[in-house]
Amino acid sequence: MLAVAGVVFLGAVAMLVVGWVRRDRPGLPFFGENEKLNTGLVVLFGMAIPIVILVALFVVSDLVLLNETDAPAASSTAMTITVIGHQWFWQVRYEGEDAETANEVHIPVRTPINLVVRSADVIHSFWVPELNRKIDTIPGQANSIELYAERAGVYRGQCSEFCGLQHAHMAFRVYAEPRPRFEAWLANIRKPAREPTTPLARQGQRAFMRDGCAACHTIAGTEAEGTIGPNLTHLATRQTLAADTIPNTPEDLFRWIQNPQSIKPGVKMPGLGLGPERFHAIVAYLMGLK
C-alpha cells in the first residue's frame, strides 16, 4: 500500500511541478490545448485507474486477509481466556480452570487461543500490536478474536479506546511460553494464595484484611473477596504493577500503595493513609504472594 500511495503522491506532485515549469505555456505538454484530451485525462486518472487500484485493495484486504481477523470457530482453539476491561486494569480469567490474574495473559506458544473480551464499565480496547487486531471491550457484549503467538516472548499490549483519566496507563503483557512452562504457570495460579512466612508479612496480611484492601481486592483462599480492583493472589509473580505502569519491586509497590494518586492520578484506589510501617508490612505480605 505504501508503494502505491508513494507512486500516486509523487505522480501528482510531479504534475504540479510540470504546471509550475510550464506556467507560461497553456495546454498539455506535447499535446497542446485539447479539451477532449483534458477531460479524458481526468476520467483516466480520476476514475479508471483508481477503480483498478481500489478493487485490488478491496479484494486483497477485505476478501482475502479479513478472514484471518474474524472471531475463531469454537473447534479451532485450544482454550478460552476471558479478558475483562476495567477502569484502568485488565482482569484475566482462564475459563474452566478456576484461575484468574490481572494485567498479564500467559499463553502457550503456537497455540490458537479463543480470546473473549468484555467490559466491566466503559468501552476499552484490547490490542497487542504484534499479535492481534484491536477488539473493543463493550459492556453487555462479548467479542472474541483468535490470539496466537508464533514465537515465544513477551508482547506489550495497551488499551486502545479512550476510557477516561488513566487510559494512558492501561497496558498489559502477553507472555507466550513453551507449553510446559505455561502449564507450570497455570498450575501455580490455580492454587490459593501462599500463607505469610515472616512476622512482618503476617502483620501485613492482617492489615490487608482489616484496613480496607480486602474490600476491593481478591486473594484466593483468604477472606479478601473484593472485585473492584485486580486479583492479587499471585501478585509477586508479576513483573509490573498498575497495569504495566511501574515495575514490581518492593520500593515501587510501597510507593504505589502509599500514594496511588501520585502515580496514576484519578485511579480508583484511594491512599489509605495507614502510615509507612503498616505499608511496609503489607508490601512484605504481597511480595510473598508467589
Binding site: L16, V42, S61, L66, D121, H167
Partner: protein, 634 residues
C-alpha cells in the same frame, strides 16, 4: 482619464444607497440582516474559536513534548483534547465555511442582493454565538467536557462522567445544530431561487455547487446527531435508558447514530474547501475548469455517498464480517469523486498559465495535503489494516491532513483571495507567501511524524507516554512543528490585520477573477449590484459583452429594481425570472430569539424544568414577534 458617470446613473446609485443604507453603530450591527455584515460577524466569531481551539492544541502538544510530563493533569488533558476537537469542528470550521464564506459570497456569486431569508441568516449567527459561548461558559467554569469529541458512552454517561461537562457538550451542540440547520436551509433556497435570471444551473459557479451539496448533506446528517444528543441527555438528566445494557440499551447505538452524522460531517467540512479551490484555480491559471460538469457532479456525489460509509469508524467493535466488508467497499467508492476533482484541478493547473500568488499557493498546498490525507484515508478501507491503526496517531495524522490541510488551507487561501474584495485593500504579497510557507512546513512537521508514531503503536488520547516506548523523538518534533504552525497562522492574521489599515487600495477586480463578485466595488455596496447581472456562463466576469450590457442597463434603468429593498427570484433550474422579492432591512428579533433559546438551554442544563418551560414560552413569543410584521410592512 476618468469616465464621468452620467447623472441618471448617479441618481440611481444614490437611490439604491438610500434604500439599502445600513443603520450605524453597534445597534446597526446587532440588528443587521445584511449577508455581508453577517458574514463578517461569523468570520470574527469563528476566528475567536479557532484561537481557542489552537490554544487547546498547543496545550496538548506541550504536554506531549516529552515523556511523563506534568504540564497538564490527566483531567485537564482530557478536557483539552475534547474541547479542541469539538471547538474546531463545530465552532470554527463549519461556521467559517458556511457562515462567513458562504454567507458573504453566495449572493454575490449568483447576482442577488441578499440571502433568501435575511432575518433567518441573522438568527443563525446569533444562535451560533450563543451556543459557542454556552460551551465556553462550561469550559471557563471548570466544567469542560472530557470524553472526546465523539463522546462515546458509557464513558459519557452520568455514571462515568457525573459532572455537567458532557451536558455542556451535548446541549451546546444541539444548540449550534439549530444554527447550522437554518444556515443550510437558507443556502439551499438562496441558490435555487435567488440566482440572477438567466443563470441556469449549468451557468452557476462551482463554488455554489459545493455549497449546495454541503447544505443538503447538513439537512440529512444533523438530525442523526440531534437524536443521539437528545437520547444522551434524556439518559443523563432524566434517567432514561438507551445505552445501558442492563436495562436493554446498547452503547453501540450511540456510535451508530453519531457516525451516521459524523461521517457526512467530514465531507461537510471539506466540500466548502473544494468550492473555494474551484474559485481560486480558474482565476490564477487563467482558464476555465477542466471537465466542469464532472466536477459539479463529483461535488454532489461526495455529499451523497458520504451517508453510506459510517461504520468504517467502528471496525473494532466486533461487527459482523459482511457488514464490515460492505462499509469498506462503500468507503472505497467515495475515492472516485474525490479523484475526479483532484485530477480536474491538476489538469486545469497544468494546462493553464498559473500565477503563483499567495491565494494560489494555499491551493497548491491544499492539493498536496489533500492527496496525502486521502491516501492515508484509503488505507483504512483495508479492514485488517484499520484494525491495527484505528485509535492510534495514524488516524490523528490522517484527519489532520484532511481537516487542517485540506479544509483549512483553502479557507486561508480564500481569506487572502477575497481580502481585497471585502476590505477594499490589498494585503502584503511577500508576507503572504512567507505566511504560507511557514504554515505549510509547520503542518507537515507536526502531522507527518504522526503516521509513523501510529504505525509504531502510539495510541491517541493518551495524556503521556513512557520514555521506554521510543516515541520521544517524534513527539518532540511534532510539538516544535506545532509551534511553527502557530507562528505561521499568526503571521497570516498579522498580515491581514496590518493590511486592513495600511494596505494599498484595491480596485474592483485585482485578480481578473472569473465570478460575479469581482464586477462590483471593493467592498461591495450594501445592495451588491445596481443592475441585476446578465449571465451566460459560470465565468461571468470573463463574458465581456454581458458586463457591457449591465453598464448599459444601469444607464437606462433596466433591471435595477430600485423601487424598494428588492431582489429577483427565479425558477430553480432554468432561472426564469419569476417574481420580485421584498427583502427585510433591520430587525431586533433575531438576537432576541437567540437569547430566549439560550435561556431554554441554560435551564435544561441546570435541570430547572419549570424555568425551562417558561423560557420555551418566551421563545414562542419571540418567534411570534419575528413573524409579526409581514414583508410588505417591513
Amino acid at each position: 482619464m476618468t469616465v464621468s458617470t452620467p447623472p441618471a446613473t448617479t441618481v440611481r446609485l444614490n437611490r439604491l444607497e438610500r434604500i439599502w443604507k445600513e443603520s450605524p453603530g453597534v445597534l446597526g450591527w446587532l440588528t443587521t440582516v445584511d449577508h455581508k455584515r453577517i458574514g463578517i460577524l461569523y468570520f470574527f466569531t469563528s476566528l475567536f474559536f479557532f484561537g481557542a481551539g489552537g490554544v487547546e492544541a498547543l496545550a496538548i502538544r506541550t504536554q506531549l513534548i516529552g515523556p511523563n510530563q506534568s504540564t497538564l493533569s490527566p483531567a485537564t488533558f482530557n478536557e483539552m483534547m475534547s474541547t479542541h476537537g469539538t471547538t474546531m469542528i463545530f465552532f470554527f470550521v463549519v461556521p467559517m465555511s458556511l457562515g462567513a464564506f458562504g454567507n458573504y459570497l453566495i449572493p454575490l456569486m449568483i447576482g442577488a442582493r441578499d440571502m433568501a431569508f435575511p432575518r433567518l441568516n441573522a438568527l443563525s449567527f446569533w444562535i451560533y454565538l450563543c451556543a459557542g459561548s454556552f460551551l465556553y461558559v462550561g469550559v471557563f467554569t471548570g466544567n469542560a467536557p472530557s470524553a472526546g469529541w465523539f463522546d462515546y458512552v458509557p464513558l459519557a454517561s452520568k455514571t462515568y462522567s457525573p459532572g455537567p461537562g458532557i451536558d455542556f457538550y451535548a446541549l451546546s451542540l444541539l444548540f449550534v445544530g439549530i444554527s447550522t440547520t437554518l444556515g443550510a436551509i437558507n443556502a439551499i433556497v438562496t441558490i435555487f431561487k435567488l440566482r440572477a435570471p438567466g443563470m441556469s444551473l449549468n451557468r452557476m459557479p462551482l463554488f455554489c455547487f459545493a455549497f449546495l451539496a454541503v447544505s443538503f448533506a447538513l439537512i440529512f446528517a444533523l438530525p442523526a446527531l440531534s437524536t443521539a444528543l437528545v437520547l444522551l441527555e434524556l439518559e443523563r438528566l432524566l434517567g432514561f435508558h438507551f445505552f445501558i445494557p442492563a436495562s436493554g440499551g446498547d452503547p453501540i447505538l450511540w456510535q451508530n447514530l453519531f457516525w451516521i452524522f459524523g461521517h457526512p460531517e467530514v465531507y461537510i467540512i471539506i466540500l466548502p474547501a473544494f468550492g473555494i479551490a474551484t474559485s481560486i484555480i480558474p482565476t490564477f491559471v487563467r482558464r476555465k475548469m477542466v471537465a466542469f460538469p464532472l466536477v459539479a457532479l463529483a461535488e454532489i456525489l461526495v455529499a451523497f455517498l458520504g451517508f453510506g460509509v459510517w461504520a468504517h469508524h467502528m471496525f473494532a467493535v466486533g461487527l459482523a464480517s459482511a457488514t464490515a466488508i460492505y462499509f469498506a467497499a462503500a468507503s472505497l467508492v467515495i475515492v472516485i469523486p474525490s479523484g475526479i476533482q483532484l485530477f480536474a484541478w491538476i489538469t486545469t493547473i497544468v494546462t493553464g498559465t498559473p500565477r503563483f500568488k499567495t491565494p494560489f499557493l494555499w491551493i497548491i498546498g491544499f492539493i498536496v495535503l489533500f492527496i496525502m490525507g486521502g491516501l492515508s484515508g484509503v488505507t483504512f478501507a483495508a479492514i485488517p489494516f484499520d484494525q491495527q491503526t484505528t485509535d492510534t496517531y495514524y488516524v490523528v495524522a490522517h484527519f489532520h491532513y484532511v481537516i487542517f490541510g485540506a479544509a483549512v488551507f483553502p479557507l486561508l487561501g480564500g481569506m487572502y483571495y477575497w481580502f481585497p474584495k471585502v476590505t477594499g485593500r490589498m494585503y502584503y504579497e511577500r508576507w503572504g507567501k512567507v505566511s504560507f510557507w511557514l504554515t505549510f512546513i509547520g503542518t507537515n512537521v507536526t502531522f507527518f511524524p504522526m503516521h509513523i508514531l501510529g504505525l509504531d503503536g502510539m495510541p491517541r488520547r493518551n495524556y503521556t507516554y513512557g520514555p521506554e516506548m521510543g516515541w520521544t523523538g517524534l513527539n518532540l518534533i511534532e510539538t516544535l512543528g506545532a509551534y511553527l504552525l502557530a507562528l505561521g497562522l499568526l503571521s497570516v492574521f498579522v498580515n491581514l490585520a496590518v493590511s486592513l489599515f495600511r494596505g494599498e487600495k484595491a480596485g474592483n477586480d485585482p485578480w481578473e477573477g472569473d465570478t460575479l463578485e469581482w464586477s462590483t466595488t471593493s467592498p461591495p455596496p450594501a445592495y451588491n449590484y445596481a443592475v441585476i447581472p446578465k449571465v451566460s456562463s459560470p465565468y461571468a466576469m470573463w463574458d465581456k459583452e454581458d458586463r457591457e450590457e449591465d453598464a448599459r442597463n444601469l444607464e437606462l434603468g433596466r433591471k435595477t429594481l430600485e423601487q424598494g429593498h428588492e431582489t429577483p427570484a427565479s425558477t430553480a433550474v432554468d432561472a426564469d425570472w419569476d417574481e420580485v422579492l421584498e427583502m427585510p432591512s433591520h430587525s431586533a428579533w433575531p438576537p432576541l430569539v437567540a437569547l430566549a433559546m439560550t435561556g431554554v438551554f441554560a435551564m435544561v442544563l441546570l435541570q430547572q424544568w419549570l424555568a425551562a418551560a417558561v423560557f420555551v414560552g418566551i421563545l414562542a413569543l419571540t418567534v411570534a414577534g419575528f413573524h409579526l410584521k409581514e414583508p410588505e410592512e417591513a
